[in-house]
């Protein structure tokens, strides 16, 4: 199990490689990577977080995933600070004996990180700065679990 909250970029290829080769007994590894979508006019994405609570909240979400599914391992890396379009914001990885568990746990982690981990995104555009509003669909997504 690994949870990292950091401002530094992470090496996606190296993380996936290390996670996969370290996941003993796994037959299936799913990864998700979130990227600052290079939307028209977007110049930067600033991510604020709540130090202390962030690590607690993410660890709690990972522990819940481990309780619900048969997982060999799980990983969450989430960045904060100022990111440019095209940069990776975060990743999750899940390893399980079977693919169903790996997929379900990865989607569960993403749904919960979206709405229950204390991060807030602010977009900078030519016209100014805007806090990204939470989507009703993201809150709705939690109900399926």
């Amino acid at each position: 199990m690994k949870v990292a909250v950091q401002s530094a970029p992470f090496d996606l290829g190296a993380e996936v490689e290390a996670f996969t080769s370290g996941a003993e007994g796994a037959g299936a590894v799913v990864t998700f990577t979130g990227i600052v979508r290079p939307d028209e006019g977007l110049t930067a994405m600033d991510i604020e977080h709540y130090p202390g609570m962030t690590e607690r909240a993410i660890s709690g979400i990972v522990e819940e995933a481990v309780r619900r599914w048969s997982l060999a391992d799980a990983l969450v890396i989430h960045r904060y600070g100022s990111l440019k379009p095209g940069e990776a914001i975060m990743m999750v990885a899940t390893a399980a004996p079977h693919r169903g568990d790996a997929f379900a746990a990865a989607e569960f982690l993403m749904d919960y990180l979206k709405s229950r981990a204390p991060f807030w995104k602010k977009e900078s555009r030519d016209g100014g700065e805007t806090w990204v509003a939470a989507k009703d669909a993201d809150e709705e997504a939690l109900k399926r679990w």
């Binding site: 709540y50 909240a57 993403m110 990180l113 979206k114 981990a117 204390p118």
Partner: protein
């Protein structure tokens, strides 16, 4: 004494990230009532509670939760991680 933290636009509207307060508030809602009464910037930040979330000692909570024993209260908009 209680630490009160503000994040995202709540922090921007109030103009500071955290402060230490002496309060007699029994619940989060009481504390919000006291904060609103302090200054216009607080009233503006706490105008619409449906746009706010609260954490007590770093656990998500609700506005009717009691403050007894709580050391850190944080107010922020709905989270947008991932």
């Amino acid at each position: 004494m209680i630490d009160v933290l503000y994040f995202a636009w709540v922090r921007e509207r109030i103009g500071l990230p955290r402060e230490r307060l002496e309060t007699s508030a029994v619940t989060v809602a009481d504390l919000i009532t006291q904060l609103r009464a302090r200054e216009e910037r607080y009233a503006a930040a706490f105008a619409d509670l449906s746009a706010l979330r609260v954490a007590l000692d770093q656990e998500l909570s609700s506005f009717d939760a009691p403050l007894a024993g709580v050391r850190e209260v944080a107010f922020f908009p709905p989270m947008t991680g991932g």
